[in-house]
Symmetry: C2
DNA sequence: TGCGACATGTAACACGTTACATGATTGA
DNA sequence: TCAATCATGTAACGTGTTACATGTCGCA
């Protein structure tokens, strides 16, 4: 139940239409949450029903009529409540990491290509985030802005997004280099996978005296 | 539809029971995917029905009987297919970032506490990941292991997890410091929120000549 | 003439989370 | 004796994703 709060937080910087929100929550600039347009239109409708946001119809000359939403007092109260409640830990969930986990058992060619593609995407986001940050702090230096600027929330989340993408890029480049080096085959060609034997997955150290498995009998199926 | 592939990838390092898988996918060590036990038991059942994994019943002396699963040939083929298909981009989705985005409008006290708590959690994961990495590479140095080791997939994903948590910790510590400095109030007490006026959210630069909003009339509601 | 941006949704489905349910063994 | 670990699930619910639906305007 945090999409609603993400929407409220995004609307703190002024009125936005569903369409504008959708852009902000889209691939490009979602540094603190991501959502599809459909989710946002649905959530805005719910939030309006509950009185947490209010919309204002704006008729335009050339463009379709739109509705600009802003946070109500009740909405602010709800955000306040949410901010004070405990946060749940966040997890990585990434297709590409699943593939790299299996790297020793699958064709390296397509994997390397995907990792490099991801590095390029990260680079593009890094550029974007840097531009956004520059714009947000105006003429000021970063330290100065963070000390004295009026609104630092979005700046801080953007910094997290920037660091995340830098980490992404660095890891992707290194991973690609390693996988390439380990693939004797063509620069982007296919490779024979090295089977490799079983190392117990994710050993948790310091957790009790390793329960030696007392296997006695085993019937298949 | 990637949980199934995450399960297949996790089972590449040898047979695991549902319970063991659940631990690997749990908070502690989920460097490439996260899932709850219920999801895993359900997914294992589906995967077995489809013949992508096979289970072997193991009767134990003192512990309840368990089933150890391994990837079948069909499962490997499916993983191979998955690895070659395009990956979807991954997004951040984090409660805490939503709260920081709203930092200028909510009580700073609880927020700071949460950010610091998160930093400590990140630190704990960093320690864990470092121990796991050391164990995986055995006596070898990192570069050496990555060049010549048998199975580097899990090592690489763990490196990503490590970098992610380091980024998390650094950002949390810096953010906490900044929020503290901006809060004139007690070290962990409550603070008057500075209202701050609207800066347009997430400006996308270089995107066409900024469509000046030709608002003409506006009726409320 | 056709494509992309603007602007807003509905419906079906897949996926993830929370709550519930059971039962033996080991160590504090 | 109480909590944690081992071991496996079901059911209900909430959230996210994919596909579909509609219509205008400006630009190439």
């Amino acid at each position: 139940m945090a999409l609603r709060h993400a929407v409220l937080a995004a609307l703190l910087d002024g009125e936005l239409s569903g369409y504008q929100l959708a852009k902000a929550f889209d691939v490009g600039v979602a540094n603190f949450w991501h959502a599809l347009p459909q989710q946002l239109y649905a959530e805005l409708a719910k939030l309006e029903q509950e009185g947490l946001v209010a919309g204002r119809r704006v008729v335009q000359e050339t463009r379709p009529t739109k509705r600009l939403f802003h946070v109500t007092d009740a909405g602010l109260t709800e955000l306040e409540r949410f901010a004070a409640a405990a946060s749940k830990p966040s997890f990585i969930r990434d297709d590409l990491l699943v593939k790299v986990q299996a790297a020793d058992h699958v064709d390296a060619g397509p994997l390397i290509r995907q990792v490099e593609e991801r590095a390029a995407m990260a680079e593009a986001k890094i550029d974007l985030f840097r531009r956004i940050l520059r714009k947000m702090r105006g003429g000021l230096g970063e330290e100065e802005f963070l000390r004295a600027g009026r609104r630092v929330g979005p700046y801080l989340t953007c910094l997290r997004g920037l660091a995340f993408e830098e980490g992404n890029r660095d890891w992707c480049l290194r991973t690609a280099a390693i996988l390439r080096e380990r693939s004797p085959a063509a620069p982007d060609g296919r490779t024979a996978a090295v089977p490799g034997e079983g190392i117990a997955a994710m050993p948790r150290e310091g957790t009790a005296p390793a329960p030696r498995n007392p296997e006695v009998a085993h019937a298949e199926r």
